[in-house]
């Protein structure tokens, strides 16, 4: 993202200007510290930080061609996959870790990471649910993700990924009746190599960026999804990622292909145990939408964020991109990012087909010492392509929250339109919000609109709520949820409820 920057507005709480929300104020109490209300609220504990004892199959730490061959052979992959991995690895060796992002971390030692950790299978071959270690089933149950189909919400199919492998995929048979393929990435490589070979790397090339190249070399599993022509997927598809093992990195890959006239809504959730050391999660997600196809991709990211002093937590460095290949296709990204020590991602859309539509709705919350540098890239190539960006950043504690977004309108994108809205909310005076919108317009018939605002949570709003009987925490949670409403309403029902709760939990204690 080295494009020209047309505007940059950064704001650090405590200094610089702050725009209060548009409320009439009679009383301007200088002695009040809304952050005191906020501090108490933000000090809540991570509820998913437990560790599961399972028998593991772990390879030695470190990265070299032999490790890559080992991963590939463990998965019994065809030659095309191994070649692709090696090509990616060699490319990665020539790349430098990027440093332009507005996040700070100690150098990562790539030779110390374990690139493959999997619960030991009881029997060789694809496991049915009966063969999955009951500890793992219990783990997912504890996370609110029961894997027995009869216990599942009827409308949601799940692929459960535990460390480096997919352990179970529900409702596979039922979906297969409609021709829908929903399985682990490993299985797709075995069963549908032609689709994998055709689309893998077609949206995020192996050479795209440092972490994408690394992922391409070592990725171990993930989800694969194919919706055939004209099929509207009758249930939400979802992947739940759980990091369990210590010192491992999680490198998963998701590939979703929506054929002509099809529709799918896809959800991702993630959690990890609490640890003092940082763990790397470098995923790649590729979406492909053909003519008139629609993909709705929603994420609730709740990786372990580190403790209150900023120790530990996941480095969430992922590359997510969708390609609206066909005319009138549509890809929507909705993300709620509350976890991770560092979140660094820009789910974007390549709007290649004429009249295609890209959307990005984001809530990113940083509390304690969390950092987020997130946003989107909308690349308008086709005629009359449209994109919408709505980003809501919330900073509490010492959290740093950066929105970074690129809107690029190429020469041929006649009649392209973009609307962007970036709002930041500050809870307290030690956190920061920054906005970096980049814009590149090569076609004069296009329209681009950008709106941005930064506000502090109002002491008057909190008082108003408390006067009506709400506790401090409920007041802040309600105000913050209201701030995020535009994004939450894009989430599928079950997820919206979860997101709502999660924000409350992630913020709890940030108010005092």
């Amino acid at each position: 993202m080295k494009e020209t920057m047309i505007s940059d507005s950064s704001m650090q709480a405590g200094r610089g200007r702050s725009q209060a929300p548009a409320v009439e104020r009679e009383l301007k109490p200088p002695g009040t510290r809304p952050e005191s209300a906020v501090e108490e609220f933000v000090a809540q504990d991570y509820k998913y930080g437990f560790y599961t004892e399972v028998e593991q199959e772990v390879i030695p730490p470190g990265l070299n061609e032999d490790i890559i061959r080992l991963i590939s052979s463990k998965k019994g992959e065809a030659k095309f996959m191994l070649d692709w991995r090696l090509k990616s690895y060699r490319r990665w060796l020539t790349m430098e870790e990027p440093s332009w992002q507005n996040v700070h971390y100690l150098p990562i030692d790539y030779q110390k990471i374990i690139y493959y950790a999997a619960p030991k299978p009881k029997a060789p071959g694809p496991a049915s649910l009966e063969e999955v270690d009951p500890e793992i089933i219990r783990t997912f149950e504890k996370l609110g993700i029961p894997l027995e189909e009869q216990k599942r919400l009827a409308g949601v199919a799940v692929d459960a990924v535990f460390d480096s492998v997919s352990v179970a995929t529900t409702f596979k048979e039922k979906l297969a009746e409609l021709g829908i393929i929903f399985c682990s990435f490993s299985e797709a490589v075995q069963q549908h190599p032609e689709l994998v070979e055709k689309y893998l790397g077609s949206v995020v090339p192996h050479s795209d960026n440092f972490f994408a190249a690394l992922n391409s070399a070592v990725f171990s599993d993930g989800s694969f999804c194919y919706i055939p022509k004209g099929v509207r997927c009758p249930m939400e598809l979802s992947t739940y990622f759980r990091i369990n093992a210590r010192d491992t990195g999680q490198f998963e890959r998701t590939l979703i292909i929506a054929e002509v006239g099809s529709y799918v809504s896809y959800l991702v959730g993630c959690t990890a145990p609490m640890r003092d050391s940082n763990q790397l999660h470098a995923a790649v997600v590729e979406l492909i939408a053909l003519d008139h196809a629609q993909i709705k991709y929603s994420t609730i990211q709740n990786w372990y964020p580190g403790d209150k002093q900023g120790r530990g937590g996941i480095y969430n460095f992922v590359t997510k991109r969708g390609k609206c290949l066909g005319a009138h296709s549509k890809i929507s990204w909705t993300q709620v990012e509350t976890g991770s020590a560092i979140t660094w991602k820009y789910p974007g859309c390549i709007l290649q087909g004429d009249h295609s539509i890209g959307e990005f709705y984001s809530v990113a919350l940083t509390n304690n010492y969390q950092q987020a540098d997130t946003g989107t890239k909308m690349i308008h190539i086709g005629r009359n392509t449209r994109s919408t960006i709505v980003s809501k950043g919330i900073s509490a504690g010492h959290g740093q929250n950066t929105y970074r977004g690129l809107v690029k309108i190429l020469k041929g994108a006649t009649g392209a339109r973009n609307y962007s809205q970036c709002d930041s909310l500050l809870l307290g005076d030690k956190c920061g919000a920054h906005t970096f919108p980049y814009l590149e317009v090569k076609n004069s018939s296009s329209t681009v609109e950008h709106e941005a605002s930064t506000s502090k949570i109002g002491e008057d709003q909190i008082f108003y709520c408390r006067q009506r009987g709400l506790s401090n925490e409920d007041a802040v949670s309600m105000i913050v949820n209201g701030f995020c409403r535009q994004v939450f309403k894009e989430l599928p029902m079950e997820f919206a409820v979860e997101a709502h709760k999660l924000l409350g939990v992630s913020l709890e204690g940030s108010v005092g």
Binding site: P21, A22, V23, E24, R25, E26, L27, P29, P30, G31, T32, G458, E459, D460, Q461, F463, Y464, C465, R466, Q467, R468, G469, L470, S471, N472, D474, M478, I479, N481, G482, F483, C484, R485, Q486
Partner: protein, 250 residues
Amino acid sequence: MLEIKNLRASVDNNEILKGIDLSIRAGEVHAIMGPNGSGKSTLAQVLAGREAFAVTAGAVTYQGRDLLAMPPEERAREGIFLAFQYPVEIPGVSNLYFVRTALNTIRKQQGLEELDAMDFLALAKEKMKLLGIDETLMGRPVNEGFSGGEKKRNEILQMLVLEPKLAILDETDSGLDIDAVRIVADGVNALRSAERAILVVTHYQRLLNYIIPDHVHVLYNGRLVKSGDKNLALELEEKGYSWLEQGAAA
């Protein structure tokens, strides 16, 4: 019900309330009048628990308890309601959801069952009808983009739903058209009962034609300088406040 003794409060080291004594019994309606900046809203907010104001002296008992020791939400749950002079906007939070959450928090405190969305809607509709409030207002975010009058009516709607024991109305009649003043007064009168008390802050005698007060007080420069019955309001209407200046300076 409410006993205020020598209450002093300041903000930023500026003393605004300079020793207030006031006693309100259940069943009574008190009106406070006084010039701009005399401290009426400050008194209302101190009673509601706004931490921005530092109470520097005095004591307040509410239903036998030390009111000043209670956080604002506890006061609210114990039946104190403040209709704000300037109601606050909360973007993105539906009015209906907001008021229901408030009601259920208070009901929970009282050991009552929470109302579900359907039952609540029925209750809210009944009150809206009483106040002539457009139903679409309930679906909109709290006070966001409401007209001045709509905001004031919304405060009264919340009051009727929450059924407080002590209602404090800070200039709820300001900015209302004549019909609306009438409607708001009807709302307040509907709440009037032997167990409840009401404190209205107003600039206009007009309101007191509809809400007949038992006592009228004049707040002047941080002190209650005169008290009387409803006729005091008429006298103020006629003479203004300047004749009280001597008493206040003393």
